[in-house]
Amino acid sequence: MTDTLADSPGSGSGAGAGSGSPEAPGPHRPGAAERLRRALPALGSLQSYIGLVLVIAVGIATKGAVFWNQTNLTNAITAFASRGILAVGVTLVILTAGIDLSVGSILGIGSMTAAMLLVHHGLSPLLIVPACAAVGALFGFLNGVGTTWLKIQSFVMTLAMLSVVRGIDRQVSDNVAVGVQLIGPNGQPTRKADAFAKLGTPGHQLVSGSWLPLFGRAGVGYPLVAFFAVCVVFQLILSRTRFGRHIYAVGGNPVAARLSGVNVTLVVIAVFTLSGMLAGFAGPIDAAYSASADPLAGTGYELDAIAAAVIGGTSLAGGKGSITGTAVGALILTLLDNVLGLNAVSDNLQLIIKGLIVVVAVVLQRPGFLRGAVDPLARRIRSGRG
């Protein structure tokens, strides 16, 4: 795993990016810290790990075992899993220097599709999940078509899609939530409803038992598995495949990518399609979590997803970032939510804290941030002396 991740290019603290010398590429004498920084970029930025450790430390300091136990942690991550999956898709898009604002709406229609397929058509979850992913992929594809062939800026295209998809969602549902806890004639949940609940209704695990390392009694639910599987698969795609390379190239310099034989249009369409697909895929998880598909499900999730990517060191300018970084960013947000909730911090204060954390994260990840703060001071001291 470490070998995989160590190779993917870029993220905030790239080794050379911080040196700031425009000429004279003299040899660096790498110290231990330098070597560590070189190894880390692919794993997300060092700063985001520090952030994660800080959040955990605050959690343990304020709530002790109430925070640091398997049940609480898996609950927290499960609650955020669908947004984490969105963040992976959004990261792909951001890496190509685009943005996808429609993922929250697509998750909504994915969750509605899932509920309707279950309730009205009695499909098994094994069919529902791919169907929802396909629905999401369709809308994502349209996003890609709009940004490439119609040359609409992705912000505008996906903003429009956000609205269109939400409208369709509300139209097909008639503004009424669809419940998925189907009760059979015997008063017990039907077999299919029970299978659907496994997609994320609290208390339904895929595997549990004390034999399970790490998770033990708490068990592991589908949302957790899906989130981490998506992270691993897409990190591998980014760092190991030609397609992944092309994503970085398109985001880093689309002209150079095209002249190097990269089919830029295809890459952009593929990336939007994947983002939509992941959003659709996350829909059933969200429906199962609330045991119902709400026509407003997923509203505002796109902002959490973008925040997770940004906190994880992905640059909105494109070409820099990684899925591992985004996963860490998502973990920071979810655990932060949990810590604030456990401490009964008021919602207003939570909003303020989360906003500030995004700002702090981005500023800290700027290459050479510390140097920029120290240099003028040093100069003042020196010129004061001389």
Binding site: V66, N69, T71, N72, N75, A76, A79, L142, V145, G146, W149, L150, V164, G167, I168, R170, Q171, D174, N175, V176, A177, V178, G179, I183, T201, P202, G203, H204, D286, Y289, S290, A291, S292, D294, P295, L296, A297, D337, N338, G341, L342, A344, S346, D347
Partner: protein
């Protein structure tokens, strides 16, 4: 490349056409002030809804359409949806005033911003029925709404009855600044005051089910025993139910909700199935609004303030009440 762009344009056009088609099917079949064929004059009603996308309001819309139809000389224009935005709603109300509807029904998103718009209607001599939430003026014909304070108080009394030996209560609150939240919260606390009941936890879940689930999971992991959960709406109570079921603690906790909507995901069904202890119907007032409108257009006098009674849902009456309010079987 060019042909690609053409295909894409065609696709987009098709989508828009489909969307417009969907809208058109809901559009009115005749102009607003046109007289219908036959017996006599038709009176036009405009209804400005604050947000269609809340289950309660979707239910209200369905019921209003149903009850207005019962009066052959009343005609309901397409219900406008302000998407929870007061500015949008103001302009939609003004549109109805411009169209000179015979009766205007408004469910204000917020009192202050809508007051001026209601005053405009009043000055244009259009009778106004305020449904559910209030405005800061007396210049309307009738106010129809439930009493949130009373409902909160009933919920508190139900909690007292459910916990004869006292106990710990957790309260899931709606958006803190919403008036119904404030009233229900106050009613509930007033009712349990003096009894051996403590509110161990309370937090804003913004009326949302998923938020309530997450918050309830956090409460359950804290260790303090929770005997009863009061959700200021059914969605939040049901979100808490999910969390408790997941932690295998649902059987030890009683859940009280509010709203009692006759929809499959609503509180009535949950009470019927035993996952919730009780809930209280927050009446939509659609039936009364239609009757009031009919009375107004025929010049009869109407009560200026109509407070709607609530119904407590228990296992015994759940089925009957559900059937009474279920709109899917009527049309």
């Amino acid at each position: 490349m060019f042909s690609h762009r053409k295909t894409a344009t065609a696709l987009l056009a098709a989508m828009i056409a489909a969307a417009l088609g969907a809208c058109a099917s809901n559009a009115p079949k005749s102009s607003s002030s046109g007289a219908s064929a036959g017996s006599g004059k038709t009176f036009v009603i405009g209804y400005s809804q604050s947000n269609n996308a809340e289950p309660y309001r979707a239910q209200l819309n369905a019921q209003l359409a149903y009850y207005v139809k019962k009066y052959p000389d009343l005609k309901l224009l397409p219900i406008t949806d302000a998407h929870q935005d007061s500015a949008t709603q103001v302009s939609q109300v003004q549109n109805f005033v411009q169209q000179k509807v015979d009766v205007l029904i408004v469910s204000p998103n917020e009192p202050a911003p809508l007051t001026a718009a209601v005053l405009q209607a009043c000055q244009a001599h259009i009778p106004v029925i305020i449904l559910d939430r209030s405005v800061n003026t007396d210049c309307y014909t009738a106010f129809i709404g439930g009493d949130n304070y009373a409902i909160g108080k009933l919920a508190g009394q139900a909690a007292v009855a459910a916990l004869p030996g006292g106990g710990n209560v957790a309260e899931l609150q709606g958006i803190l600044s919403d008036q119904p939240q404030i009233d229900r919260d106050k009613g509930f606390r007033d009712a349990i005051a003096g009894h051996d009941i403590t509110i161990a936890y309370h937090q804003e879940a913004k009326w949302l089910k998923a938020n309530a689930t997450t918050i309830m999971q956090q409460w359950l992991s804290q260790g303090t025993k929770i005997d009863l959960v009061y959700g200021e709406n059914d969605d939040m109570a049901l979100g808490a139910v999910l969390a408790a079921q997941g932690a295998n603690k649902a059987s030890q906790i009683k859940f009280i909700g509010t709203d009692g909507l006759a929809i499959p995901t609503g509180g009535i069904r949950a009470v019927q199935q035993g996952s919730m202890y009780t809930t209280f119907v927050y009446p939509t007032g659609a039936e009364q609004a239609a009757a009031t409108a009919e009375a107004i257009v025929h010049g009869q006098s109407v009560a200026k303030k109509q407070t709607l009674p609530t119904i407590q849902i228990t296992k015994d009456n759940a089925d009957a009440v559900y059937k009474q309010y279920d709109m899917t079987t009527k049309s």
